[in-house]
Amino acid sequence: MKNRLPLLLGLLLTFNANAELRATGDLGIIIEREAGSALIIDTTEHKQLARIDKLGDLSHASVVFSRDQRFAYIFGRDGGLSKIDLLQDKLDKRIVQAGNSIGGAISQDGTLIAVSNYTPGGVKIFSADTLELVADIPAEYADGKLSKVVGLVDAPDQRFVFSLFDAGEIWTIDMSTPKKPKIEKFKNVGKFPYDGLITSDGRFYIAGLFGESGLSLLDLWEPEKGIKRILPDYVKPDEQLPVYKMPHLEGWAVADDYIFVPAIGKNEVLVIDKQSWKLVKAIPVAGQPVFVMARPDGRQVWVNFATPENNKLQVIDVKGLDLQSTLTPGHAVLHMEFTPRGENVWVAVRDDDQVLVYDTHTLKEIAHLPAQKPNGVFFTSRANKIGF
C-alpha cells in the first residue's frame, strides 16, 4: 500500500494537468444568504463554476482574498471564518471564532486575517495560512464593558484600523510584530460610529456616525493630530429620518477629488471635498442609500437603497454631480461589484434569486446568473486593493 502512494500521486498530478486550467484573476464569489453557501464564479464567462455549502449564517457576509488570489476568506454573521480554495472548489478550513461577527480584513502582507466581532466585542487576528489565533484584542472600554466593533480595514505598515460602536472610539493596531500588537486609541470620535472606510491610498480612515451628524476622520500620516470631525452640523437631530438599514462605507466611494457617502437618515448622497473636507453637494436620491460605490475609474457612482426603495439602483454622473439614471433591477437589490476596470457591474437581487450583470456604459443588462437569495458579490481583484 505504502509503495502505491507515489504512483497514486503521480496519477493525480496527471489528472490535474489535464483538467481545465483556471486563472484566479477572473474569479469571484457570490454569497447565498439563506442557504449559507458560496458560488465560485468566472467573471468573464458569467458562469458558475462551483458551489461551496455549509458556511453557516451568511446573512451579513463579507469576503477578502489572499494576495495570490487563490483563497477567499468568508466572514459570516455567526462568527464563522471560512477559507475557500478557488482552484480546487473546496472548503480548505473553517473555524467559528466568536458568537456574532460583522466583517474582516487581510493584512498588507497577506499573512494575517483580522475579524471584527459584536459578541464578544473585539478583534481577533488569525494566521491566513492556518487560521490559528495570533492575537485577541477585546474592545474594552469603561469598566470592563466590551464594545461591538465595526468598520475594520487594513492599512499600510501592517496595521488594522477599526471603530468601537458603543464606545465611540477608533483604534489602530500595528501588527509588525505579531506577538506584540501595538494598539493606539482615539477617544470621543463621536456617537455610534456604524462603519468605516479607508481611502485607496491608505491615508485617511473615515468613520460614519449614527448617533450624531457627520463623520470622523483620522489621517494615518499624521495620527498625532487626532480626529477631525466632518459635517458636524449637517443633520439636525430632529431632521434625521428613521434608518431601516445601516448603510455601508467602502473605499470605493472615492472618485475624482471627492468622497461620496450615504447621508444617514436622509435620502441623499453627500459629496465631500477631499482637500477641505467640506460639503460640496448633497445629491437627492430615491431612498436611504446603503452602498455608495464609485466605478473604478471614478466616472460614475452607483447607489442602492434601504427598504422600501430596495428595488432601485441609481447612477450618479461624477462630472456633473447629478443623477444620470435610475434602474430597477428587481426585488431587493442588496449589493454590487464592479469588474476591475469598471466596464461591468454585477448586482445581487435577493428576492429574484439572481445576479444581474450590467454594462456600465450603456446601462443595459448583458447577463444574469441564478443564485439563491444572493446578498453579496466579491471579485478576486479586491486582493490587490488597500481597504478590501
Binding site: S59, R77, N100, Y118, Y194, F210, P242, M246, P308
Partner: protein, 101 residues
C-alpha cells in the same frame, strides 16, 4: 354561510385580528430580511439584540409591540408604524415568542 363568516370576522377582531395569510407571509419575509438585517437572520442578534423567547421573557407584549411600532429614540431601532399596524406587530411578537422554527 355568509353570515357565519361575518360572525367569525367579528370575533377575531375583538381578540386583535390575525393578519390574513397573505399578510402573514409578508410579515415573515419582513422579519427574516428587514428585521434580520439588524437582529440577525436567525434572530440571534447583530447590531440589535437577540429576539429569542429567552431574551424576551418577562417583557410585556405591549412594551414590545410599542417598541416595534414606535422604535426607540436614541437607538438604531426604527419605528415600523409606516409599514404595519398594531395587529401585525402583535402577531410578530407572538412569532418571536415561539422562537425560530
Amino acid at each position: 354561510m355568509k353570515k357565519s363568516l361575518l360572525l367569525l370576522g367579528v370575533t377575531l377582531n375583538c381578540l386583535a385580528a390575525e393578519p390574513t395569510s397573505v399578510r402573514q407571509a409578508e410579515l415573515r419575509h419582513l422579519l427574516k430580511n428587514d428585521c434580520g438585517a439588524c437582529h440577525g437572520l436567525t434572530l440571534h442578534g447583530g447590531m440589535g439584540p437577540a429576539l429569542l423567547p429567552e431574551t424576551l421573557k418577562g417583557k410585556p407584549d405591549e412594551f414590545l409591540v410599542s417598541t416595534i411600532l414606535n422604535g426607540r429614540k436614541g437607538t438604531p431601532m426604527p419605528p415600523w408604524k409606516p409599514f404595519m399596524n398594531a395587529d401585525d406587530a402583535h402577531w410578530l411578537v407572538n412569532i418571536l415568542r415561539q422562537g425560530p422554527q
